[in-house]
């Protein structure tokens, strides 16, 4: 193991500022890892040719004694987050030649903080999927077992971090797209509160759900990146400044009250149920937290609710891909035919499925039965969380991240409903707009695939997530992948 193995942001910065390594050396180290492993794993769709020159700039600043939160830190970015002048394809043929004309707000903030962008990573097409198999550019493989998926939709990112080909990375989460791949690859993933991070420059899938968030090797790194990218942005009217959360004080006093989510154990891997029980014991015995069981009676409707609202938003967001202003174009005889042919060659099966499903649930005659009903159920699920965090006095809700560990490539791709059920533990927080995080919590058997532990906090309770997750991580480090 060299001193460059498994570097976190904190460790890498220490080496950089002490001049033990240069940003240039760090970048060439990662480029070599990518060169060695990417042909098998397919985590990166493109490695940027200016990575070395970005590093040079960072080294100049370091030489002058400069410091910034992410100075000289090489990151990977999901292929749906815009970096000016770079191709951004959202894993789709529709945008395979699209060059971003501006920086996403989060990217601008990372640049400002001194970060280096190594490349863009594979994802399910337009982030629609839970395995990275719907990408138009081939599936990504799980670096821990290449016969398995890395999860999705941010599977390329999760694989890039897990194969130690970058320090940290930026993904996006709509129904679990940061947290489930993080769990599958044994890394940490944060889905921030809806509105905590600007969506400006994130290619939209479902706008009332989408959030950009960090995927990292530990909790502290997730916090560092979150602190850089968060905040109100006039380019995204749904953003808000962080609000102070009372629970923070409780954490600092060390008296967290954790609700263990009551769930149907039948649909979940035995080892994942056991890991959950072990985590509950660690909370109570090692960390001294108050532990209670919590029931959220309406989250059993989460996946149904999610797969009405999200396709509805997808059908409107995808309407912009008409071949005219950007992206692919295939000519027909009329304007309508132009649209239909362009969208036929540009969109893969899952994207079509969701557009059409959304068109259906929004169409006259079905709107009330599906869309309006799902909006009301969204209200019910929000109420469940509110009650848990107020009346029941719960600070954090803990559950598994996913009902299974990383599954085999090809195992579920032809059964969309089965793929949708992957979101069973991750969708509820999105429906309620809450921050949630997945951290490693053991392996399925010795040498087996990683298991994720999922925490959900009240809105803008990220600080609480970080403090609690750090304590758990330090107490139970046995699940780290390297």
């Amino acid at each position: 193991m060299s001193k460059l193995s498994n570097l976190t942001i904190v460790k890498a910065k220490e080496l950089l500022l002490n001049k033990e390594i240069s940003a240039g050396e760090l970048v060439s180290h990662y480029l070599k890892v990518i060169k060695d492993r990417n042909k098998d794993i397919n985590a990166y769709l493109e490695v940027y040719d200016d990575a070395a020159s970005q590093a040079e700039k960072a080294d100049e600043i370091i030489a002058k004694g400069g410091d910034k939160p992410l100075l000289g830190i090489p990151l990977a970015v999901k292929d749906n987050i815009l970096i000016e002048g770079k191709t951004c394809s959202a894993g789709s043929k529709m945008l395979q030649n699209y060059k971003a004309v501006y920086d996403a707000t989060a990217v601008g903030k990372l640049k400002e903080a001194g970060a280096i962008f190594l490349g863009r990573t594979n994802m399910d097409e337009f982030a629609m999927g839970a395995s990275t198999e719907t990408s138009a550019f081939g599936p990504t493989k799980n670096p821990l077992d290449p016969s398995r998926v890395p999860g999705g939709s941010s599977g390329g990112i999760a694989a890039a971090v897990a194969m130690d080909s970058c320090v940290a990375a930026l993904g996006s989460d709509t129904g679990g797209s940061i947290r489930q791949p993080a769990a599958f690859c044994g890394i940490t993933g944060l889905n921030p509160t809806y509105g905590a991070v600007s969506r400006n420059g994130l290619i939209a899938m479902a706008s009332s759900f989408d959030q950009i968030g960090p995927m990292t090797k530990n909790v502290e790194d997730a916090e560092i990146i979150f602190d850089v990218i968060k905040g109100r942005d006039e380019m995204d009217s749904t953003t808000a400044d962080e609000r102070h959360s009372k629970v923070k004080e409780r954490v600092e006093k060390g008296r967290i009250r954790v609700g263990i989510l009551k769930y149907d154990k039948n649909g979940v891997d035995k080892e994942i149920n056991e890991a959950m029980e072990r985590a509950a014991k660690i909370f109570a015995n090692d960390l001294g937290w108050e532990v209670a069981e919590i029931e959220l009676p309406n989250i059993k409707y989460s996946v149904s609710c999610y797969y009405i609202l999200v396709p509805a938003e997808v059908s409107s967001n995808m309407a912009r891909f008409d071949g005219i202003r950007y992206g692919q174009f295939k000519e027909g005889k009329t304007l309508t035919e132009d649209y239909m042919k362009t969208r036929e060659i540009g969109f893969g099966m899952e994207v079509r499925r969701r557009i059409m499903l959304g068109t259906y649930v929004l169409s006259a005659g079905y709107y009330d039965a599906y869309y309006a009903k799902a909006q009301k159920v969204r209200g019910l699920i929000k109420q469940d969380f509110e009650k848990a965090f107020t009346k029941s006095g719960i600070d954090l809700i803990a559950s598994p991240t996913s009902p299974s560990v990383a599954f085999k490539i090809g195992e579920r791709i032809n059964d969309p409903l089965k793929m949708y059920l992957e979101d069973i533990f991750t969708a509820p927080a999105k429906i309620a707009g809450l921050p949630a995080m997945s951290i490693p919590s053991g392996l399925k058997g010795e040498g087996g695939m990683p298991i994720g532990l999922h925490f959900t906090a009240p809105a803008f309770g990220e600080k609480l997530l970080f403090e609690a997750a750090k304590k758990y991580e330090h107490t139970f480090p046995g699940s780290k992948i390297s």
Binding site: V101, E344, Y370
Partner: protein, 91 residues
């Protein structure tokens, strides 16, 4: 029974007959699953109409006219000079 062909037309996507069959089957399964929502008691939930405030900026502080035009026009495959050429909307 869902009219997949009509949906595809509404969604402006060409599909072939094989895809049509597959989608038909998928939609039946998915809609069957999501119909569980009907069991949820939502009688006490009211959906608030638009709780957003006006988020549009005031006129007057716009960027200089044309300052983004070149970049945006270059994104289109249908550029002709400073235009994007499209077919007639009404046939």
């Amino acid at each position: 029974m869902i009219d997949v062909e009509k949906l595809a037309k509404l969604a402006r996507i060409n599909i072939n007959s094989e895809e049509k069959q597959k989608l038909q089957k998928d939609f039946e399964a998915i809609l069957g699953y999501i119909s569980a929502l009907n069991e949820a008691d939502t009688s006490n939930i009211e959906i608030k109409e638009d709780t957003n405030k006006n988020v549009m900026r005031e006129d007057g502080s716009a960027h200089e006219a044309g300052s983004h035009a070149e970049k945006l026009l270059n994104s289109s495959l249908l550029r002709e000079d400073d235009y994007i050429k499209v077919k007639h909307v009404f046939e």
